[in-house]
């Protein structure tokens, strides 16, 4: 399963980021959202930027401690935070800027497709983000 993005439908409301951060942090914390919204200006156009869950995941290939592995159920590439050494190799390797470091807590953060039921797709009011099999 993957997220499919229809940027022309995005209104810039940030509901995807709000619910994403809440799912993972139990708080509304936009800086920790696993997806970002790119925009030329406040008036858009907007483009949700997300992890493609690449078949050949450059982030996982670049990880020196094999802390990124694919979850067979959701097919999402997931960071094992207890193994991650926050070296940033994955961040450099990702062609989509879809992974970032939380330096305070010392690990990399990326989309895990919420284990198979992504909040962003569920809550997006305009179907700018949809889940496809």
């Amino acid at each position: 399963m993957k997220l499919e993005i229809h940027p022309e439908k995005c209104t810039g409301c940030r509901i995807c980021q709000i619910f994403c951060s809440y799912k993972h942090e139990n708080a509304i914390w936009l800086d920790m959202a696993r997806l970002s919204i790119r925009n030329e200006s406040d008036d858009g156009p907007f483009e949700p930027s997300h992890c493609r869950q690449c078949d050949d995941a450059p982030c996982a290939a670049a990880c020196p401690v094999d802390a990124i592995a694919q979850d067979p159920a959701s097919v999402a590439w997931v960071v094992a935070v207890e193994e991650c050494i926050a070296c940033g190799s994955c961040v450099d390797a990702c062609p989509f800027d879809a992974i970032f470091l939380d330096e305070d807590r010392g690990f990399a953060i990326k989309c895990d497709l919420c284990g198979g039921q992504p909040e962003c797709a569920e809550m997006c009011p305009t179907a700018a983000i949809v889940l496809v099999e």
Binding site: E8, T11, G12, C13, R14, I15, I18, F19, S21, Y22, E25, N26, A27, I28, W29, L30, D31, M32, D42, D43, G44, P45, M123, P125, T126
Partner: protein, 639 residues
């Protein structure tokens, strides 16, 4: 230690005279009795800005406040409030905005910014999380609102900075100057932009990176998702989402509720040229939304070709399509957008700005004004060039614009010659784009609103066109059919009182009246109580929440009573009371104001003779000290 979640737990206190910035802890007792936002600001105004304070003096306070649910999972939880004494009305004043500033302030770790004093030179307040400083705004002074926002972001090097700012109108003390908030949202009413200007505070810019913590994350998620689901599933949702507030232009006109020529009429023959369909066909670029809003009533509009080619703006609302359209007998949609853009850039309320122009046009029609009065302007109905020129003159206080920048009440006092009867205001504030003759609840709402003629305090939308399903869902079968009939007076005191109290809560927690709580009518007392309880951890039975709403509204009223307001001020212009409407469904109707006021005061527990809250009501709301102060000042409830 502040015990409640969802709040940041502290606020900024800024004394501009001394250049002093303090971090102050939120008071738990204050949160329990007034929540935040509107309630927080009302209480601070009551405590700190007495009746002798001139609104444009350093002693006035300006309170920018988020609420506990601002910046959370709740639908459209991007709203924040500004409260201060209004230079337009001289009494309680507030304005409210969506966008992204409110949540950003919370993410930066602050529930509110409280400003007092007067800086010796122009400054702006820069808030980067815990780092807060006053910076020189000498180079920003004189800039338009979008220029200011762009300049601050460029200097800061971060496009994520959110800004509230005034334009030249606020700097120049126009009494209906707005405060504009990222992205092009307006804190329009009450002239609080002029208060910012008088303090030489050009802007507040904020960037935050922190979390908003929730007391009971599981339950809060459940409550929030149910609200999103209900709003998105509402039968009216697709229309509101597609058209936003302009969608009601076509609905209001046949009712005779679309003010035309300064309320001489309630329908506009060329309404089809300025309705939502025409607007979207002409200029729609894309749909936009405020923070966390599934409705997305905001749109980007751009004009291609024509005399205003390239004009680009968002938030073109029903109110402006009326005030700069039918109200001044103008069917040129492009000119409306141009006027809207000028008001946004120069920082003026489009409602009051349109109303001072229509006031002058009617005075011209009645030959009360001559060319000498107007500085050579022939104030003919529908002359958009003159209207656009006047908007600039108002903002820069030039020529005839200087007088109109004082608002219709003061302008009529200066002009005299019987002009007062054409000054369409209540308590000094120009009336919004409704007509009480066509919708009786709005007539009452305009008369009783604590900030002067205003639809948004009570916001009675249930009976606008008649929404029986919404009426039944919200109030029950017992109130039907009268409560949803716009020209029926029965149950309207109840509708207005309930709306005022609930609206005070909506403006205090930080969500939107157009995104479910009033428009769509999907979110009501029990939903907000559940969200507050699970979000903050504060015990919040529905009855307690209702009492908080009532307390806030009563304290605003007491603040006005302190300034001499009584039943005699809860009046509508003569036109609504004596001139039957010539238009549409309202034909032949006037507003039966006294009848509704009697019912309203009785329902409120206010004295029917004086319109003041009774001692019993104030004691019931825990406002004994308020009662004592009113009596000490000689304006007590029995006085």
């Amino acid at each position: 230690m502040f015990p409640y979640r969802a709040y940041a737990g502290k606020y900024l206190f800024v004394d501009l005279t001394e250049g002093r910035i303090e971090s102050r802890e939120m008071d738990a007792k204050l949160a329990e009795t007034y929540l935040g936002g509107n309630g927080f600001g009302t209480r601070l105004l009551w405590d700190n800005v007495g009746p002798d304070v001139d609104p444009l003096s350093p002693e006035n306070w300006l309170i920018f406040a988020t609420g506990p649910l601002c910046g959370t999972l709740l639908p459209n939880s991007g709203r924040f409030e500004v409260v201060g004494k209004s230079p337009l009305t001289g009494i309680y004043g507030d304005a409210n905005s969506g966008g992204f500033f409110g949540p950003e302030l919370k993410f930066a770790g602050w529930d509110a910014v409280v400003v007092t004093g007067e800086s010796p030179h122009p400054v702006f307040l820069a808030i980067s999380g815990e780092q807060v400083e006053l910076r020189d705004a000498g180079a920003l002074w004189g800039q338009t609102t979008s220029q200011t926002e762009t300049s601050i972001r460029r200097e800061w090097g971060d496009p994520g900075v959110m800004v509230v700012t005034i334009g030249p109108a606020g700097e120049n003390g126009v009494r209906f100057a707005s405060i504009q908030a990222t992205p092009q949202r307006s804190l329009g009413r009450c002239g609080l932009g002029a208060v910012m200007g008088s303090k030489r505070l050009k802007a507040i810019a904020v960037r935050g990176h922190g979390p908003v913590q929730i007391a009971d994350p599981g339950r809060f998620l459940e409550v929030s998702k149910a609200m999103h689901r209900n709003i998105r599933g509402d039968a009216v949702f697709p229309a509101v989402s597609q058209y936003g507030t302009p969608g009601i232009v076509s609905l209001m006109d046949p009712l005779g509720r679309f003010p035309t020529k300064n309320y001489q009429m309630g329908s506009f023959p060329e309404v089809d040229q300025i309705n939502a369909e025409s607007l979207q066909a002409r200029a729609l670029v894309r749909h936009l939304a405020c923070f966390g809003c599934p409705v997305g009533c905001d749109k980007l509009y751009t004009l291609c070709g024509g005399p205003y080619d390239g004009t680009s703006l968002r938030s073109v609302e029903y109110e402006t399509l009326n005030s700069m359209g039918a109200n001044i007998w103008n069917a040129d949609l492009d000119a409306i957008l141009a006027a809207n853009r000028i008001c946004d850039e120069l920082g003026m309320d489009t409602i009051s700005a349109g109303r001072v122009i229509s006031f002058a046009m009617e005075l011209w029609q009645e030959e009360i004004l001559n060319l000498e009065d107007t500085g050579g302007l022939r104030m003919e109905w529908g002359d958009v060039d003159i209207a656009l020129d006047l908007l600039n003159k108002i903002a820069y206080r030039q020529g005839f614009g200087e007088l109109l920048g004082e608002g219709v009440r003061r302008a009529a006092e200066v002009i005299g010659r019987g002009s007062e009867q054409y000054a369409m205001h209540v308590k000094g504030m120009e009336i919004a784009a409704q007509d009480g003759r066509a919708q009786k609840s709005m007539g009452l709402a305009h008369a009783t609103s604590n900030r002067g003629a205003d639809h948004l305090k009570a916001f009675p939308v249930i009976d606008e066109t008649g929404f029986p399903d919404e009426g039944r869902r919200r109030y029950g079968e017992a109130y039907l059919p009268e409560i949803v009939n716009p020209i029926e007076t029965k149950h309207k005191p109840f509708l207005v009182k309930d709306g005022e109290d609930f609206g005070a809560i909506i403006d205090s927690v930080g969500v939107c009246k157009s995104g479910g709580s009033f428009v769509l009518a999907e979110v009501y007392w029990d939903d907000i109580a559940a969200a507050l309880e699970s979000g903050t951890g504060m015990e919040m039975p529905v009855e307690r929440l209702k009492q908080i709403g009532e307390r806030i509204y009563n304290l605003q009223r007491c603040y006005n009573v302190l300034h001499g307001i009584t039943r005699a001020d809860d009046r509508l212009p003569r036109r609504f009371l004596e001139e039957p409407s010539p238009s549409g469904n309202a034909k032949g109707q006037v507003v039966e104001l006294d009848l509704m006021l009697d019912g309203y005061y009785t329902l409120r527990g206010w004295d029917v003779e004086t319109g003041k809250p009774t001692p019993e009501k104030l004691r019931e709301l825990g406002l004994e000290e308020v009662l004592e102060r009113l009596e000490r000042q000689g304006v007590g409830p029995r006085g």
